[in-house]
Symmetry: C3
Subunit: 376 residues, 3 copies
């Protein structure tokens, strides 16, 4: 094991984008869909995916099972230990001491940020998902002409809560990024809100309102996380190519940091933006556990071809099962350490620089962008 | 040689998409264009491509020539042995026992599926190319108002022929996938058919008729193969990005299996679809012989980053020269075996799982999707 | 070191697309922005990028510093030696004997082609950037109805200058390639010129005029270089996907060679075009120094998956600092040699073929396309 791996193993990570874990014990029928973005299908097992293989390999030992334990044994042992103990083991193993938790996606009953971080002995922060704020405003009942102000007030209130350090948008899922980059006018917003509210509100996918949401994020002044690339079947992948954000990034330069999450398969497109826009950062979050340790390095190497080392962050994007908090951290450490160490070994990179870049990506860059205090 | 390579070498492959081979002896002027999607150009040789290099390396020995034999010796020896013997040698060497043959593309006089399979001692099946069916309907003469029914009847008749197990569309070449996903109405089809037939029929590229063709495939109930990505100069690559199929896949979920062929350079986009849509499968067919053994593994590794192991299939997409039936099989076996064996060696994957996934991709997945009997 | 590396190290390269170097001595504040397409940002250093790391590693020794010398020492030593000596060292080390210099981008005071080549003991040629010609025509004052003729006359005059061997367009930056492929009519050009000139001329980004520029390139009969892919924040990456050129390439087949520059991250899309259009060539120029030696091979391997070996060229696309002329050449030699040698070692490629392909890509292909005499 090289010096970079040692340093990264010892480094407590800052996970700048993740979710809570399910608090209930999970049957196999409940567990399997959580391993994938695609759901569980009859006649197959979600363990027969790269993520499922990685779980059997890297998570089974933490449940006192042999590596590559069969799926049925894995799920049985998980149930035997109980959700609380399972979550504790994986969250502790992740070696993460700061969790920035997106609290806006809760189809399951999940741990709160405080509960999640407590299980790992870490510090919780919160990321406010703006679509959820907007949809709650609609659900409470609002006139179209008052929507813009009500959403803005609700967003401002949401980010004033203690521990909130950033906001997030899933515009990639709702409209994609191929939007008019300009801030919509008040009449445009009112008209779009009228249309949306007349349909009963619900899932926000009106292009004008998504644009207004992104511009509200600018006004809020906090780092904005944007889902980019891979996801569930709701994504239209080509519309989430972050290159479509270029005009908007020009218009908003000098305002808020923009954090491109996951990015696969557009990690190179994301890197181009991070290389030329001061405010753009990226991670390969969700990809880490989906492609597993076997391919995380390959993905990260593409992401890092031109990305300045100040611009790479770590996230797990783990949702629901704490296996992914562990697997994300493990994949990230191995991928980055392998990449940097090989360059050190080939004398392409000096070891002190490699150690510096590893620390930046694993913790320092995120702390700086989100203005987090260093843990004492 | 590792255990996975041994198993894959011993496994008879199911080639779920290929074409026949030219029955005539070929001069160098006739042979060279068949090595490429680009034709032969003055002042150069198509042997000076990755595919040409792979042919000289991996096919020359089967003609009793040294590895890397010069192009002129290769073509001379080929002529000396005669097409029948050359085809027999390569088709036998391929180790393929099931051939699903696309019979709808015949600029040359090709072997029938039965002739192709017989040369390898394998079993033939047929894939009906729907554009060819539609164009034949137009060529026979049909009124615009009767086109939809006539095409449907002809397609139903075509797929009732013994041995037909699937259909194919080259929509990627004709319009690309950025189509209105909805089933077109009868008046729309009639209007489009009127326009097409008024122009004399021929190459079907009317967007409405291509949509109607894809929906007819849904009605036929058989697996639908879709050309995706690389091809000849008729392709507009960006319009063949399979992510454009997302809305159509939502509308047709629960109906027919959709087989994404080749996919390069969109293998990751195809993988995203295979990961989230139950009905989507993929291969990297045509890419296997064009990139050769030197790069097939790299392409396959990208394709497999998130693809469930139940969703990968093998095809050679060989056309015209039996070299490509051999080269496709060889590239596939090496690429998949190398990928899986390295993961076994790194203890990222258990050997029994690796063997299972290899068998699935090489034969079992295709047999299941196309409901093929297992050879006795 | 293998035989291919030896051959490539001994081969004088033809750099078919580069720029001059700054003639003035550079302070750190002036030097750092030249290392990146993104400018220098407060609180960070452009040395903390892959390109910056590569400069400290591979350029510092040529300034008599240790490998990985700190940034401040690097810049101090650079100043101590003076621009002339620094440029001489790097340009000599590049091992390039033919420089095709794009003279149309000059935000800094740069060496002329003759000065650049003289510093390396090489031969200069010139590439005329057509947007600069068009903008100069507008700046001199022209009526809209006379613009087409005046631009054409100016372009013809520009390419008649001694040493001009090709033209270049930055259409990728101005409109992207998703243009109507047809030659615009005279009235269309006049109308677009009227609009452009009414706005004071300046940066040419009228789609009709960009189309007319590309068609004028066809009339000029010289190889046309097209910027493709990565660049500064002015690029909209997705619109520079060269697949959008397909219809235009069909219309202009049989006329001029089209040289796709850089291409990253669309190197596979560029390769598809080079594989099927006789007139299309490619390089991975700008990517070579931005991704550095650590990743140039990976990028080149993707570019070469299906590219005929007659179609790959070398360019550095170095601008401003001679470090990049050196780094481009070093990255190219290592990447190509590594790729070819490994295939030779694996017996996938015969050594004589590898040596032939290396010479073609490093010098011969460019000399043939641009009809350059061989240096005596």
């Amino acid at each position: 094991m090289g010096a970079v791996q040692e340093a990264l193993d010892a480094l407590k990570l800052t996970d700048h984008h993740c979710h809570g874990v399910v608090t209930a014990d999970l049957s196999r029928e409940e567990f399997e869909p959580l391993l994938t973005e695609g759901g569980a299908w009859p006649g197959g097992s979600t363990f027969d995916t790269p993520a499922g293989v990685a779980v059997r390999r890297h998570c089974a030992p933490l449940l006192d099972l042999p590596r590559h334990a069969p799926a049925e044994e894995y799920v049985a042992r998980r149930a035997e230990l109980g959700a609380r103990e399972v979550n504790r083991r994986f969250l502790t193993a992740a070696g993460t001491d700061v969790f920035c938790v997106d609290t806006g996606y809760t189809p399951h009953r999940l741990t709160s940020p405080a509960e999640l971080a407590a299980a790992a002995g870490g510090t919780p922060y919160e990321i406010v998902r703006l679509e959820s704020v907007a949809e709650a405003v609609a659900a409470r009942g609002v006139e179209a002409g008052e929507y813009a102000g009500a959403f803005r007030a609700a967003a401002e209130e949401a980010v004033r809560r203690p521990g909130v350090v950033g906001v997030k948008s899933v515009a990639a899922y709702r409209t994609g990024f191929d939007l008019d980059p300009a801030r919509p006018s008040d009449p445009e917003v009112t008209e779009a809100a009228r249309h949306w509210l007349a349909g009963g509100g619900g899932r926000l996918a009106e292009p004008v309102l998504v644009r207004q949401l992104l511009w509200t994020a600018v006004d809020l002044g906090l780092p904005l996380q944007l889902h980019v690339g891979l996801g569930d079947s709701d994504i239209r992948l080509h519309r989430s190519d972050p290159a479509h954000l270029t005009d908007w990034l020009h218009l908003t330069a000098g305002t808020i940091p923009v954090m491109l999450l996951h990015c696969w398969p557009y990690q190179r497109q994301a890197a181009q933006l991070a290389a030329v826009f001061e405010q753009v950062y990226l991670d390969v979050g969700l990809a880490l556990h989906h492609v597993g340790p076997a391919r995380s390095r390959a993905v990260l190497e593409e992401a890092l071809e031109i990305t300045p080392y100040r611009k790479l962050l770590y996230s797990s994007d783990a949702y629901g099962v704490a296996e992914f908090h562990h697997l994300g951290a493990l994949s990230f450490r191995r991928a980055l350490a392998g990449l940097l160490q090989d360059r050190v070994d080939a004398d392409e990179l000096a070891l002190p620089d490699a150690l510096r870049f590893a620390e930046w990506a694993g913790a320092h860059n995120a702390r700086q962008v989100y203005r987090l205090p260093w843990p004492s």
